[in-house]
């Protein structure tokens, strides 16, 4: 997290109003056409990183909801969500929550297989989709080991977490970080030694999901249970399916307008 002055806060408030007015729901946003802009290329001086401190996560899903609202994510799809588990060890059950999102990998599996180079990694490490170039072939959806992507049924193009690029480019925090109740999601610049992510990375051992795949994620976890670092091999699947609970009817956050 960045330190904010009073003037900074004022600037951010203006920027937030601008971002809201633009309604930047897409990866880069339909209002961005300049391919040399920060929105396209990113800020090379930054090294954005997210650390999820699982000791602080209460599993309230406010990240899931704020992301869906901020980014107009279609019902039944998620840019971020928190997987909820019951892990039983030696007869003792324990509730574990694992917030998931695009890992903004340093060696992404998704960008290399994109036939049009519509998805790429910005200079600051944010993996984005230029959805005016994306043909919706879903190669990236298949390639991502973290289920960080889906084809948006409204736009027919690949969609994913952008760490709210439209917000961080204007000095704001991603929506999920801002609404995180326990302060579990920590976001900032790893190039800045005073940032919260830099401090946390010095103080705590960090783990990545599926490290053996060599994707080098920039979403890292504090206190990640080894059972959940990869797909639980003998896990019992959730009984809840979106159709069973009428999710389509109850969670449509984006009505009218179209993406």
């Amino acid at each position: 997290m960045r330190k904010l002055s009073r003037r900074g806060v004022l600037k951010l408030a203006t920027a937030a109003a601008g971002a809201a007015a633009a309604g930047a729901a897409d990866a880069i946003g339909p209002d961005v056409h300049d391919e040399d802009s920060v929105a396209f290329r990113g800020d090379p001086s930054k090294r954005w990183t997210m650390i999820v401190d699982l000791r602080r996560c209460v599993g309230c899903q406010s990240c899931t909801v704020s992301c869906a609202v901020e980014n107009r994510v279609p019902a039944g799809h998620f840019r971020t969500f928190a997987s909820d588990y019951e892990v039983v060890r030696a007869g003792a059950p324990r509730r574990l929550v694992l917030p998931r999102l695009c890992n903004h990998c340093e060696s992404p599996a998704c960008t290399t297989v994109c036939p049009t180079q519509a998805t790429y990694r910005r200079a600051d490490g944010v993996v984005v989709v230029n959805n005016s170039k994306c043909v919706g072939c879903a190669a990236c959806v298949q390639a991502c080991p973290y289920e960080g992507r889906f084809i948006n049924p409204d736009t027919g193009t690949a969609e994913k977490c952008t760490w709210c690029a439209h917000r961080i480019d204007r000095g704001l925090l991603p929506a999920c970080v801002e609404t995180c109740v326990g302060g579990a999601r920590v976001f900032g610049d790893l190039n800045d030694p005073d940032s919260a992510v830099s401090r946390l990375s010095r103080e705590q051992p960090l783990s990545a999901l599926a490290p053996s795949l060599g994707t080098r994620p920039r979403v890292l976890y504090v206190a990640l249970d080894s059972e959940l670092a990869a797909r639980p091999e003998h896990g019992r699947p959730t009984l809840w399916r979106s159709g069973d609970v009428g999710l389509e009817e109850t969670t449509r956050v984006h009505t009218g307008g179209g993406a």
Partner: protein, 396 residues
């Protein structure tokens, strides 16, 4: 002992639907049919001459219908042409754009040279539009001398040789598309392009047995299937099935017995959940039965037994494409358990899309075999009803 129960976990739908196994199947048939034609055109094997031209027609018609599946599966179908203007060297799909455009063009040019003698002859024999069309296909040539034959033969031979790596690539790259996906343990093997190529040969040779049977019986003056030719194709089929089984043996045993943990669910999915499709239809009926028929001379000599076995082989390879493409997506990347998938009937991801694709191929095939004198090219006679000879001029 630790157990994990999921309480909340979203479900990720199948992102590559029915059109993709259909596309992979079609490119495989095209590659195999091209190689069968190259046995004659590139290597001069006269034994396959009766179906050399027909195989080339199958190769090109199948490949003209196949890419429509890809377009149907895009989220932004109207943007398909943009793939040609945006390249990405590390993306196999990007390679495919150039393969899928140059390969059918190469076959069409090869057809023009390989069939030139037949075009000239048919242009001479017929009148009206038919004659003019074939004169145009013969590039305006009015005569076809022995010297012309040598020249066009040399050109079609070079094109056939050049086409072999092209045909291998046009199908091999589809296996590569799957092989590069490290998030999908079923797909992520260096064997994938090879397994795809060999199973493509199985489906393509079996398909050519069926096409040969139908076309020789219905569309030639002789009206009989050449048993020596189908037996020869059956022997090819046996060879490719044997290679396919050996590859699968290596693939499954190494991954299952010595593989990484993520392969465990794949084995369960293939051999337990998909027992009927992956084990029974794909392996026992699709490979085992055709292999037995193709190996036993008494069985492969019986037309209907061989045709039945060929149908099984074709269906088996289609089901293999399904089990690989769809099955690979039914093993969740992060969720526990397995997904289930039943394709819808209508829509671009539905069963009717595949039916329509086959129907389109059939139309293209009927049009191409009506236009192109493949029987003459093969040294066979055209059916009597089809022979439109120039009327004999009677002097009063």
């Amino acid at each position: 002992m630790t157990s994990v129960n999921e309480l909340v976990q979203p479900v990720w739908n199948v992102a590559w639907s029915l059109a993709i196994p259909q596309y992979f199947f079609m490119t495989g048939v095209s590659a195999a049919a091209f190689l069968v034609s190259s046995l004659t055109y590139a290597f001069g094997d006269r034994r396959f001459k009766p179906i050399a031209g027909l195989s080339l027609i199958v190769a090109v018609t199948v490949l003209l219908a196949a890419p429509l599946n890809l377009i149907a599966d895009l989220g932004q179908t109207g943007r398909f042409y943009e793939l040609a203007f945006a390249t990405h060297a590390t993306a196999p799909m990007s390679w495919g754009v150039y393969l899928l455009t140059t390969y059918p063009a190469l076959i069409l040019v090869e057809l023009l040279f390989a069939f030139r003698g037949s075009f000239v002859a048919r242009a001479d024999e017929t009148v009206g539009v038919t004659s003019r069309v074939h004169r145009a296909l013969a590039m305006g040539h009015r005569t076809f001398t022995v010297g012309d034959a040598v020249r066009t033969h040399a050109i079609s031979r070079r094109l056939a040789l050049l086409g072999i790596p092209w045909a291998l690539c046009v199908h091999g790259y589809t296996g590569y598309i799957l092989g590069v996906m490290k998030a999908r343990p079923l797909w992520h093997t260096a064997l994938m392009p090879i397994v795809f190529l060999v199973s493509a040969m199985v489906s393509g040779v079996a398909f050519m047995i069926l096409v040969t049977a139908v076309m020789q019986r219905l569309e030639t003056a002789e009206r009989r299937v050449d048993p020596a030719l189908t037996a020869l194709l059956a022997k090819l089929l046996a060879g490719f099935i044997a290679a396919d089984l050996v590859l699968r043996l290596f693939w499954y045993t190494i991954q299952w017995l010595y593989g990484v943990a993520s392969y465990g669910p794949v084995v369960h999915h293939l051999f337990v959940d998909s027992f009927w499709s992956a084990v029974v239809v794909e392996t026992l009926l699709g490979l085992g039965v055709p292999l037995a028929v193709a190996l036993v001379p008494a069985l492969r000599a019986r037309g209907w037994v061989l045709y039945g076995a060929s149908v099984l082989a074709v269906v088996g390879v289609w089901v293999f494409r399904w089990d690989t493409v769809i099955g690979g997506q039914l093993v969740p990347k992060i969720g526990a358990g397995f997904y289930a998938y039943t394709p819808p009937v209508w829509g671009s991801d539905g069963v009717m899309q595949v039916v329509a694709n086959w129907a389109l191929w059939l139309v293209l095939f009927i049009a191409a075999t009506s236009l192109l004198p493949w029987q003459r090219e093969a040294g066979l006679g055209e059916p009597v009803a089809r022979a439109r000879t120039r009327p004999v001029e009677v002097t009063p």
